[in-house]
């Protein structure tokens, strides 16, 4: 098991290296893309261009440029924005990370609890009215786009009913956990629910399908023939096996969301997270910031995947030998 974990994380490091090279090449070496021209602005004269090139190091060979970039990113932490010169990239990302993590971790807890509960209920009560009702609720969650739902939630809680029912809802924004845990949770409650609803629907549907399949497996029949109670068969045998694909999906979703896929939720609820930072950097093509956030996102996706694979091996003994 330890060997497996080491191997898995070794592979993750290799993947991260490959991603960093790829991202670097896409942003700095794609034919036709001249970062110097972008920094110098429109209609810059050749002399200015040359000067920019020299001062940013674009006249060096590509491997050297790559190493310099990585040195700025990971060793000296002094990579600066191209757009707002002097603004450091790393602190910007570091400020945004706790916001995104708070949002995604909270939402993940809610959607996992909700999704597993709904999926299990629907799967176990198949053939009764409960199943289609729960699944209808799931479809409802899946089909509401986050940006629309978020706006509606804001409209209702911040404007229409803010003076009556929802007077307890704080204004949009973020309060750090270290400052006031109560306010932190209160500010994030609606974003959590909004983000979790979509995923809870997806997970419930997926789990229901897995569970129904598992309940038809031979090993469940064996468990019945053993004289176990229906409850034990459902939870210890069928659900335990159905959770395996759920966990792998969860890793992917969690990594992607922390990496910036929670962008829409962050923008709608005014949360200054990584998604919002990326969004701003994309709008003015601030290459170092984009590079930083993309690498950061890749880091989380790869890390989450590695963690999931290890978890997967805990859950499914068949994987350990592979």
């Amino acid at each position: 098991m330890i060997g497996y974990i080491l191997r898995r994380f070794g592979a993750a490091v290799l993947v991260l290296f490959a991603i960093s090279v790829l991202v670097f090449l896409i942003f700095f070496a794609t034919p036709g893309v001249d970062p110097a021209a972008r920094i110098a602005g429109k209609n810059a004269d050749p002399a200015t261009l040359e000067q920019v090139r020299a001062s940013f190091g674009f006249d060096q060979p590509l491997p050297v440029q790559y190493l310099m970039m990585m040195k700025h990113l990971f060793v000296s932490h002094d990579l600066t924005s191209f757009v707002n010169r002097g603004t450091l990239v790393i602190p910007q990302i570091m400020d945004a990370v706790p916001v995104t993590l708070s949002l995604v971790v909270g939402a993940a807890v809610i959607w996992m609890v909700l999704g597993v509960a709904m999926g299990t209920l629907a799967g176990a009560m198949r053939g009764t009215l409960v199943d289609p009702l729960v699944m209808l609720l799931g479809v409802f969650g899946v089909s509401l786009p986050v940006y629309w739902l978020g706006e509606v939630v804001n409209l209702v809680t911040q404007k229409e009913l803010h003076d009556s029912v929802f007077s307890w809802v704080p204004p949009l924004g973020y309060v750090p956990l270290s400052q006031s845990p109560g306010q932190w949770a209160l500010h994030l409650l609606l974003p959590w629910l909004t983000l979790a609803l979509l995923y809870a629907g997806i997970y419930a549907r997926l789990l229901r399908g897995e569970l129904i399949q598992a309940l038809n497996e031979d090993y469940v029949r064996t468990a019945r023939a053993k004289g176990l109670s229906e409850r034990r068969i459902l939870i210890r045998h069928a659900l335990r096996c159905s959770l395996i694909p759920i966990v792998s999906l969860f890793g992917l979703d969690f990594g992607a969301l922390v990496g910036g896929a929670a962008l829409l939720t962050e923008v709608v609820f005014g949360l200054p997270g990584v998604g919002k930072l990326t969004y701003q950097a994309l709008q003015n093509l601030d290459l170092p910031v984009i590079m930083g956030t993309v690498l950061y996102a890749a880091f989380f996706v790869v890390l989450a995947n590695a963690v999931v694979d290890v978890l997967y091996a805990r859950l499914d003994p068949r994987v350990r030998r592979a």
């Binding site: 053939g127 497996e217 031979d218 090993y219 029949r221 064996t222 468990a223 019945r224 023939a225 053993k226 004289g227 176990l228 109670s229 034990r232 210890r236 045998h237 335990r240 096996c241 395996i244 859950l315 499914d316 003994p317 068949r318």
Partner: protein
């Protein structure tokens, strides 16, 4: 052998509501098993043998099923038991093993855990003791290094070894009756022989009666004391093994015996088959559509009758069945299944 049967099934009927009306899978099946006896239930796919046994154990779970009749096990009618009481019977007094050992075990738990789970479902003993018993059981069914293998996962075993594990699990609470649903069908031939050997040995050691469901006449000839031939959800022939193999009375049994390839004697170009597939017949004898001896009387369902413990459900005259059988199948007189039956007899 004590004569009081351990299991007595009387007029068992299992039917399912389907989109095209009611389908009767088991139609008035009656049989009994005495303690320590091996009953071989034979028939091709769809003859109702598995469904009837699942019905006995209350494992038919679709709400579309309707089960009636009487299943008396050690003096109690199982069909009348509550869910909770039935659970105490399943796994402890009646154990069942299934056809495909590759999928019969939950993949995420060690085999020792799964055996201990069954023991602890029925007996108040500690985890430690249950595990020790699992090791002993694994040893008993011939798993090498059971102390180590008890912590292995199902995927770390071969098919034959997994079936041994399943058998060990079934025997963990010393059941009075073991229902084996084609336990050797998914295994290769040499493994089949080992598993049959094992079951024979365990029957002597544990004294469990066995109901062996199979479509393989060879398996029946190896292990059964008593044979029940099923067709279309009904018993068509029943008797002690020697009688059924040496003097089969029902045309369906003839067909089953003739379709077993022979080892010695002249090689036939084509193995005889029973024409057609099992299906519902309109009211009369269920086998009538496929029977070469069909006549007017077959419009009515024959009942299971006969003397001296060898019963059959056929309208052909009592006397001279063997002549009728040879009249249309001119094969050599000793069929291979009978040879193997004879060989098995001589072994004893």
């Amino acid at each position: 052998m004590p004569d009081q049967p351990i299991l007595e099934v009387d007029d068992l009927r299992v039917s399912f509501r389907t989109g095209r009306g009611r389908f009767t899978a088991v139609d008035g099946l009656s049989f009994s098993v005495r303690p320590g006896e091996v009953l071989g239930v034979v028939g091709e796919s769809g003859s109702g043998k598995s469904v009837s046994m699942l019905g006995v154990l209350g494992l038919i779970r679709t709400p579309n099923a309707e089960i009636s009749g009487k299943v008396v096990f050690r003096g109690r009618d199982l069909l009348a038991l509550k869910d909770r009481e039935m659970r105490a019977v399943r796994g402890r007094e009646i154990a069942m093993i299934f056809q495909d050992p590759m999928t019969a075990l939950t993949p995420v738990y060690t085999v020792g855990w799964q055996i201990a789970e069954q023991i602890r479902a029925h007996e108040r003993i500690s985890k430690r003791e249950a595990r020790d018993r699992a090791v002993r059981l694994l040893d008993e069914v011939g798993i090498p290094a059971p102390g180590k293998r008890v912590d292995s996962y199902p995927h770390e075993f071969s098919g034959g070894m997994r079936q041994r594990v399943v058998i060990a699990m079934a025997l963990s609470c010393n059941p009075g009756l073991l229902i084996a649903d084609e336990p050797t069908t998914a295994l290769d031939v040499t493994t089949q022989a080992q598993i049959l050997d094992l079951m024979r040995r365990l029957r002597t050691d544990h004294g469990s009666a066995i109901v062996m469901i199979t479509h393989d006449m060879g398996v029946v000839s190896e292990i059964a004391d008593e044979v029940l031939v099923m067709y279309g959800g009904r018993a068509v022939e029943r008797g002690v093994r020697r009688d059924v193999f040496h003097a089969p009375r029902h045309p369906y049994t003839w067909g089953l015996l003739d379709s077993v390839p022979r080892v010695g004697g002249p090689r036939v170009r084509r193995l005889p088959t029973i024409p057609g597939t099992p299906g519902a017949s309109g009211g009369g004898c269920p086998f009538a559509d496929r029977c070469t001896h069909r006549h007017a009387a077959c419009e009515e369902v024959p009942s299971l009758t006969g003397g001296s413990g060898h019963l059959d459900a056929c309208w052909l005259p009592e006397e001279g069945r063997e002549r009728i059988r040879r009249g249309d199948r001119s094969g050599p007189e000793a069929s291979p299944a009978r040879q193997s039956a004879r060989a098995a007899d001589e072994e004893r």
